[in-house]
């Protein structure tokens, strides 16, 4: 009865769904800025309080310095429990410096809740699917990115005590905010002609360019702001961190000598362990988006050329969604991680696909092409800073007396630039990426039991053929899940008659059936492919009405009464 209701809701949602009535005034955040952790937490709690029937907020773990990792579950309470529906899982800030993944997550929560009942397509998705969101995976390091001197690339990793330079001391030579401006920028030094590899860019004196041809250089680039704290002749060679969360997942994991930044064993650290265990506890997750930055990519696995190839039918489903994404996200390119970006073992997307059988993308948010709508050179990045941010992004070079290098200059881009979009671009970035998430969720498998064919073979013996249609692009079970035996296949059962034989119809017209040799009353089906119908065959002994049930781990449970006559 409940399930029939669910279907009814799904079918009529476009015209009979009502707006969600908030219990109190929901938050209305602006999406032209970044939110430090405390503000994100406050917003998440406010959404949970405003939409108590729809939003569940739970702590799923603690970061390396005790910060709570929050998970949000959004589901329509009237269409059944969250775990009974196909789900999309979305996370952000796995890399702490890839900051605006969190804001895209917030945008998704805000947009979905406020537009349910208003926008038909969104409403349909929300009626039949569950949305899980973990906005801040690498939560402790993300906090530090806001509260401590940072760069566009630091802090990035998990909180981990690693002796980067293997000298027996840990984190003894970090970056130093030498000029005390709250930013770690870069250092350069003017030297006598011939002693440097760089010269001042004739087009913009703020930039250095490598010497070419027969030129002599008079500048050294000295890297990020810092000193040789431990007197070992190296600067900033043992900074806090370096276990890269996106190299710690279990599928295709490789140790540190093969994959830089890996942990000692997969999912050793609490942040990514929490994500992996969340995935394990929610087998209904069939779609995944893990937001990173930057460069403008829609990436999928495999992360390494040596990994198992993705089966063809799964690749087709990926391609359909990824290629459409390229249109929805101007300048973004869809492709495979190892061939489009670089080899990376042990990433989120590989794990969700190779372990849980879910179709996972990583979007690399933000691309310099959005500055002037072409490939941005360093000169153009500075022009953008000057003309479109009135100089907000850039710290002009200032002289500094360095204990080791002597007279140097310190300056460069601030930590919230380069990888993160400027505020006025951020809302568009959020909206387009959330639209891609919703497009992905739109294609979560949607099953319908179609009109069955019932043929009387002899008194009390019936041949029943039931087509099950999946009218969306993702299958109800990934092919990789059958190959690797990741979870139970879909299960078709009949109540009210004895099942004499069962199988999957290969060709309805030529009467070809692949029988299940044993235990016909539990017909196991390796999923309904995307945008196809699969017809199931039953030879039944009995009379009257039967109940046919199709139960998919990923796509939900559906029943239909069938009269044997």
């Amino acid at each position: 009865m409940k399930l029939t209701l669910a279907i009814l809701f799904a079918l009529c949602s476009a015209w009979c769904a009502e707006l969600i009535k908030p219990a109190k005034t929901p938050p209305d955040p602006a999406f032209n800025r970044l939110y430090p952790n405390a503000e994100v937490e406050k917003l998440l709690k406010a959404y949970a309080e405003s939409y108590p029937d729809w939003v569940k907020l739970e702590a799923i773990g603690k970061g390396g310095e005790g910060d709570t990792i929050w998970a949000v579950t959004i589901t329509n309470p009237k269409t059944g429990p969250a775990d009974g529906k196909p789900a999309i899982y979305v996370d952000g800030a796995t890399h702490a410096n890839e900051i605006q993944g969190t804001e895209v997550c917030l945008y998704l929560i805000n947009y979905a809740l406020k537009n349910y009942g208003k926008l038909a397509r969104l409403t349909e998705v929300m009626d039949r699917a569950t949305i899980y969101v973990v906005p801040m995976v690498n939560v402790s390091s993300r906090r530090k990115w806001f509260t401590q001197p940072a760069t566009p690339s630091y802090p990035r990793t998990l909180i981990a005590k690693i002796d980067d330079d293997r000298d027996g001391k840990i984190d003894e030579d970090p970056f130093d905010d030498l000029d005390g401006d709250g930013e770690i920028t870069t250092m350069r030094k003017k030297v006598p002609l011939g002693q440097g590899q760089y010269k001042v860019d004739p087009k913009d004196p703020r930039l250095l360019v490598p010497v070419q041809g027969d030129e002599l250089g008079d500048y050294l680039l000295l890297g990020s702001e810092g000193i040789d704290n431990d007197g070992d002749g190296l600067v900033n060679e043992d900074t806090p961190g370096y276990v890269d969360p996106n190299r710690t997942f279990g599928y295709g994991f490789q140790p540190r000598y093969v994959q830089a930044g890996a942990s000692d064993y997969p999912l050793q650290y609490p942040e990514t362990r929490a994500v992996a265990e969340f995935g394990l506890k929610h087998p209904n997750i069939m779609a995944v988006q893990s937001f990173h930055n930057s460069g403008g990519f829609i990436l999928r696995g495999p992360g390494a050329p040596s990994e198992r190839r993705y089966p063809a039918s799964d690749s087709r489903a990926y391609d359909l969604i990824g290629k459409e994404g390229e249109k929805m996200l101007p300048f973004y390119k869809y492709g495979v991680i190892f061939s489009m970006l670089y080899t990376a073992y042990g990433g989120t997307t590989d794990h969700f696909y190779g372990r849980y059988g879910a179709f996972a993308f990583t979007n690399e948010l933000n691309t310099p092409k959005r500055l002037f709508h072409n490939d941005a050179t360093p000169q153009e990045s500075l022009k953008f800073n000057d003309e479109l941010t009135q100089g907000r992004q850039y710290v002009e070079w200032k002289p500094y007396k360095h204990p080791q290098y002597g007279d140097i200059e310190i300056g460069g881009f601030k930590h919230d630039t380069i990888r993160a979009p400027e505020g006025f671009l951020q809302e568009e970035e959020c909206h387009r990426n959330v639209s891609f998430v919703l497009f992905h969720a739109y294609h979560l498998p949607r099953l319908q039991i179609q009109e069955p064919t019932v043929v009387n073979v002899s008194p009390n013996l019936w041949r029943v053929q039931v087509p099950v249609l999946n009218d969306r692009a993702l299958p109800s079970m990934a092919e990789i899940a059958s190959v690797l035996k990741l979870h139970r296949p879909d299960l078709a059962t009949v109540e009210g008659a004895k099942v004499v034989a069962s199988g999957v119809v290969r060709d309805a017209y030529l009467n070809q059936v692949d029988y299940q040799v044993s235990r016909p009353e539990r017909l196991l089906v390796n999923g309904i492919p995307g945008l196809r119908a699969t017809t199931l065959f039953f030879l039944l002994e009995g009379a009257g009405e039967i109940t046919f049930t199709y139960d998919s781990v990923k796509a939900g449970k559906f029943t239909r009464k069938i009269a044997l006559r």
């Binding site: 293997r166 000298d167 027996g168 540190r256 064993y265 992996a276 080899t343 139970r488 235990r519």
Partner: protein
Amino acid sequence: MKTMKYFALLVATATVGLGQYATFAEAERKLADLARLNPEVMSLESIGTSAGGRKIYAVRVAARGTVLPEARPAVFVGANLVGYHNAGTQAALGLVEQLLLRKGDLLLATRTFYIVPMLNPDAHDSYFAPVKLRYGLNAGKLDRDRDGLVGEDGVNDLNGDGRITRMRLADPNGPYLPDPADARVLKRADPLKGEKGLYQLYSEGGDDDRDGSYNEDPVGGARPDKNFAHGWADDDPESGPFPGSEPETRAVMDYVLARRNIAVALVFGPANNLLTMPRGSGPALDIGQVRVTPQPQMAQALGIEARSYSVEELLPILQNSPTAQQFTGGVSRESIASLLGAGPAAAPSAEDLRYYEALASDYKKLLEKGGLDFKRDGAQSAAGGLQNWLYYHYGAMVVELDIWGVPKKPAAGGLTGPSADVMAYIDKEAPQGFVPWTSVTLPDGTKAEVGGLDPFVEIAPPAGELARAVAAHAGFVQDLAGKLAAVKILSTEAKQLSPGVWQVKASAGNTGFLPTHTQHAVRARTWLPVRLSVSLPGGVSLVSGKTQVASERLTGGLGQLKGEWLVRAAAGTKLSFTVSSQNAGDDRQEIILQ
């Protein structure tokens, strides 16, 4: 009085320990007793909880010495991860007892022993169960055959003999037939020899869930011995949802990762790496043979062509490249291999195997002396098991030993191969070890025969043999503890070059038998290098350079680490040199500039 009691108990437990198998509860009690009676050298802690809620115990044996136990070179022993290798647990317990008898010896004052005797507590008691079976699952929940029903089709003791053996079903298309040399044994039919199969072979038990498969979904969770990351099988539900998912595997990994003073590790499990050298599962990728093909972006960044190179060939090209330096944090053959995607090693390094061979020769002598067979073959360590993880990922010198196996039978016609040894052993020593084939009827009416080898006959020696094997292995571990690498300052020298400027030199070496690092660890870089440094008192400085030099590996006898510094100091200044390692000790020497 107290001493008397201690000895009485030690003798009593020693007898039980060497000759009999202990249940989990008995072993737990015994460990608690030993710890209570020997507080000055033994400590017992729980390092985790199994899926079934049982404690995973770790013993530390170390006497008071000049170096704290957690900083001394240590030996790690882990036993019975597989769950049915109870002989391994006995060997670990026997080792603890043997060590406790050496309380006052230098060995315990200079070494630390970390021993985890029961790595898979949930499976430990299958040897003692009313129906004995080889069982390796923890007490988690797993739908092994992915049919939506959990633990619905395990084995059944069809003939009621209290043990799970084999079951054969007559089938004209079956692959097995009785071996003409011994009809008790089934062999695979070879169609090229005109042989025709007569049977299908299964473990003992009916098709409880009528799905057409026998015993495919027993009660229980994952197998911890398949749950480690090296060689982990992604298509076997028993290996766990991901490597390191199980509490048992995590506990032991966290334990050894927190103890980088471990110099050598032993796994007591079903394989034997010293009777048969570990083969691995693919190429060793010793650094001299590694070829790499940099990806285009990387090649561009490094300013090299994107083609295939040997690491040797790249070393001179990248040695002085600032970009390569920045990417690797130190250009070496090993770091180039890592940077450019040489991939993982799948077999032990040839250099490490030389040490395995040397240890094997000592080991075999010890077995011979103990009256144990040393000519038999040893099984290979399990993919996804602890031994492989310790070697390939953790980076330790590690040996897996099975303690005991069916002795090799002198060739004398009849059966050939491993079953010849087993049947000869059964006929001579263990007549109960073979269950004659007898007819049974399965619940669904299927006719079958049950029989074959006792589940433990090949892996659990009888009391006398067990005692000898335990004693021999306890001896081997202690001998091994005497062979560990030990770093020492070998020479120091100071020469005044001009008033107030001194050239000082020091050299350090490894005076032990084993190297400070495995060759594989040089690549895996899981241990810090051996470091030789000069400490400068206030007011003394180097003319230039760094205070520390390092070496990734010092072999016993041969390898030396040399440091040379220019120091600005007054005559009469005292300088000190320190050589430091994580698991081969430290040494310090002073020199007065004069």
